[in-house]
């Protein structure tokens, strides 16, 4: 095919949906709103598919014109379509479309239906821009834009204070990450003079000896950006709170697509990370630490969505770990399977919440397998998938990351062990959720669960199929396909080692399953006993290591106090205003003294007048130089 791929349609179709529903949505009938909202991502998905099946050389670049052209800064609107953006686009538009369908059922009875879908379409617009961007600044547009959509959707029920708070928190914490991204771009501009990925990659290619140093700085700055968006340590705090938003939003933005943008960005700029071993190790450490840290918190959460949120943070940690050992294709592979099974988990959880009339507390659920069979079965698939049982999708992708970590040498074996232990924890907390929600008998008798409508169940079934078969493509073939975009690293391995590592991973998952089975099925009362007997660690986990509180005390409070008392009261009111009023005061004082002269008595004025005239006369008439010469003073007059 010779013609253009019309990549611009991919973001602009959802944007059109956003504009129509956003401006006219309140006046349009609901069916039309739904039709527009669903057609936009479907059409985008169609354009993506068309691009996938058209035989163009990759990377395929489309430039639409100048964006900024000022002085030495030149940035174009350019989209890049290569294997990496292709995989990401399929996930974003495909899973995105399924979640749009689901939303039509889930949000059917909400006020602000059109507003919800316009925001969702806006998100699709920015996310596709992020994925397609051919330069860092355009990526930053999508990057901030998805943050905006996330802000609007988390705060969708804006009359709830907690929702509005969570939205703001998400945006501000993301801004801290964006700060890193911005500094990274400045460094790129200073050292490469360009923000275009291809230009930077080309320049690096001709300087193979250039490693470390400034490249480490750039990579670390970009990493700060990635930790913000992908909710890694230490900036993960916004993601659990983001669960205040509607559940389909949690599935789309806070599980499947937006939060993986950090991973995507690292893969997109892998040529920078590849040149800096230090930065790569940092990425791996951040990933492994986050994976473990978030998994421990997930162990004791009682809100079904919060468990899934921490699980997301933990799984993103895996992806970072994959990037950190330069196994970008493994990270992207896990990103893809994670999008399937985590979206499924959230949507199934949403179905549970919908069926229970808004109940999110796991302790009040139970026995749902009978009343919600479709939800139960799809959820079961997802739970087994995330736990890493073969032949489900996540088994392949997680295994790929773990074996890449093990084989990367150096500290890789530590990362591998942390990952393996996290896999055990993951398996445990997911089966805990499964047992608490679906097994046993209902623990709350005043709630009558009902199965959700088919608009919600359809996407569940499709996603379940993807969660089962999504990994069958196999890591080797996937890596080979992505290799032109993210490079390939051949690792020394053997069949026996591969099988052993896989076996260990499955064993970890099994152990997790057995512990959960023992605590929550065989002897349901033993879990609370265990919690009581270890109340110290339990409280630490239940309060999420007090991280929010620590941030509040260490950063937010001091900032506000310093601003209020030192900057406003002392500097602004005290010193600066004080200075001005002191100057004013001096003027007033001088005036008050001079005022006494103006007595208003005419004769005193006249006397001063006469005295002044006399003084002038004296000055003119008396030959002062002669007088002074007589007393010995010589004036240096002109002409002497």
């Amino acid at each position: 095919m010779n013609g253009s791929l019309h990549l611009w349609l991919i973001p602009l179709l959802p944007f059109a949906g956003f504009l129509i529903n956003g401006i006219l949505g309140r006046r349009l009938p609901k069916t039309i709103v739904t039709a527009i909202a669903l057609l936009a991502p479907l059409a985008s998905f169609g354009v993506v598919l068309n691009a996938v099946f058209s035989p163009v050389d990759k990377p395929y670049v489309e430039t639409f014109g100048h964006w900024i052209n000022a002085g030495t800064l030149n940035v174009d609107f350019s989209f890049v379509f290569d294997q990496l953006s292709l995989v990401m686009l399929l996930v974003v538009t495909g899973v995105g479309f399924l979640i749009h369908i689901y939303s039509a059922g889930y949000m059917a009875h909400e006020d602000g239906y059109a507003r919800y879908f316009s925001y969702l379409n806006l998100f699709m617009f920015f996310m596709t821009v992020l994925v397609l961007a051919g330069n860092a600044l355009l990526m930053f547009v999508g990057w901030e834009g998805v943050g905006l959509a996330s802000y609007l959707l988390i705060g969708f029920w804006f009359q709830k204070t907690s929702a509005a708070d969570a939205g703001k928190k998400a945006f501000v914490v993301n801004r801290i990450g964006d700060f890193g991204f911005l500094i990274g771009m400045f460094l790129l501009l200073a050292n490469f003079g360009s923000l275009s990925f291809s230009v930077i990659a080309a320049e690096l290619a001709v300087k193979p000896a250039w490693t470390g140093g400034i490249l480490t700085a750039i990579a670390l700055c970009l990493l700060v950006g990635a930790t913000g968006k992908s909710a890694q340590l230490p900036l993960y705090v916004w993601l659990p709170d983001a669960m205040e938003g509607p559940t389909p939003v949690s599935a789309l933005i806070h599980a499947a697509t937006m939060v993986t943008a950090g991973v995507y960005m690292i893969a997109r700029t892998h040529f920078l990370f590849d040149r800096s071993p230090f930065a790569l190790t940092t990425v791996a450490i951040v990933g492994a630490a986050t994976a473990l840290f978030a998994a421990t918190i997930a162990l004791v959460q009682t809100d079904i969505k919060r468990v899934l949120a921490y699980s997301t943070v933990s799984q993103l940690g895996y992806m970072f770990l994959g990037c950190g050992v330069a196994a970008y294709s493994a990270a992207i592979f896990h990103l893809m399977t994670h999008a399937f099974f985590k979206a499924l988990l959230f949507l199934a959880a949403g179905s549970v919440i919908h069926g229970l009339g808004g109940e999110q507390d796991l302790r009040k659920m139970g026995g749902l397998r009978k009343s919600m069979p479709v939800t139960f079965w799809t959820m079961t698939v997802a739970v087994f998938a995330i736990a890493g049982f073969p032949p489900l999708a996540a088994f392949f992708s997680k295994d790929a990351i773990l074996s890449a970590a093990f084989l990367s040498g150096g500290s890789g074996k530590i990362f591998w062990f942390v990952g393996l232990f996290t896999a055990l924890l993951t398996s445990f907390y997911m089966f805990r959720l499964w047992y608490l929600a679906f097994m046993g008998d209902s623990r709350s008798h005043d709630i009558h669960a009902h199965e959700s409508p088919w608009s919600m169940l359809g996407p569940l079934v499709l996603l379940a199929l993807l969660s089962i078969g999504g990994g069958w493509i196999g890591m080797e073939r996937f890596a080979a396909y992505l290799a032109p975009a993210v490079g390939a690293r051949s690792l020394e391995s053997s069949n026996i080692l591969d099988w052993t590592l896989s076996g260990l991973a499955v064993a970890a998952a099994l152990i997790g399953l057995l512990i959960a089975d023992r605590l929550y099925r065989a002897r349901p009362e033993s879990a609370s006993q265990l919690a009581k007997s270890m109340s110290g660690p339990y409280n630490l986990l239940a309060h999420k290591y007090w991280v929010d509180e620590i941030y509040g005390v260490v950063i937010v409070k001091p900032l506000m106090l310093v601003s209020k008392f030192i900057l406003e009261w002392i500097v602004d009111i005290g010193i600066l205003s004080g200075l001005v009023w002191t100057l004013g005061g001096i003027a007033t004082l001088v005036g008050a003294i001079l005022q006494r002269w103006q007595s208003g008595n005419m004769r005193s004025y006249a006397a001063w007048l006469a005295a002044g005239a006399a003084a002038l006369l004296l000055l003119v008439l008396v030959p002062w130089s002669a007088v002074l010469a007589n007393v010995g003073i010589h004036l240096n007059m002109a002409g002497h």
Binding site: Q598, S599, N601, M602, R603, A610
Partner: protein, 100 residues
């Protein structure tokens, strides 16, 4: 012939008398007359010099001064009458409305 300096001394004496009268007298009318005295002291020097240098300019200037003095007398007396009507006094020290 009376020397020039005598005229000038008389003129200065008249002017100083006027100044002193202006400063120490309390009655507004007297103050006003002191001003006239000062003007006439100055007029005398103008005429003296005009005579001395045989220039007519000085004498013309005297006419100007006299015209201004007449106008001033008209306006000034009118003001004095207005003040007296308003305040029933002509003591200068009591007329201090300009004081802040």
């Amino acid at each position: 012939m009376i020397p020039l300096s005598w005229y000038l001394l008389l003129s200065a004496a008249l002017f100083c008398l006027g100044v002193i009268g202006f400063l120490i007298k309390r009655n507004l009318i007297t103050v006003f007359m002191s001003i006239e005295l000062m003007l006439n002291g100055v007029n005398l020097s103008f005429v003296t010099f005009a005579h001395q240098w045989h220039l007519v300019k000085g004498q013309i200037f005297v006419f100007f001064v006299m015209v201004v003095a007449a106008a001033e007398a008209a306006v000034g007396l009118a003001i004095i009458i207005a003040v007296f009507r308003a305040r029933s006094t002509l003591a200068v020290d009591r007329i201090d409305l300009m004081k802040l």
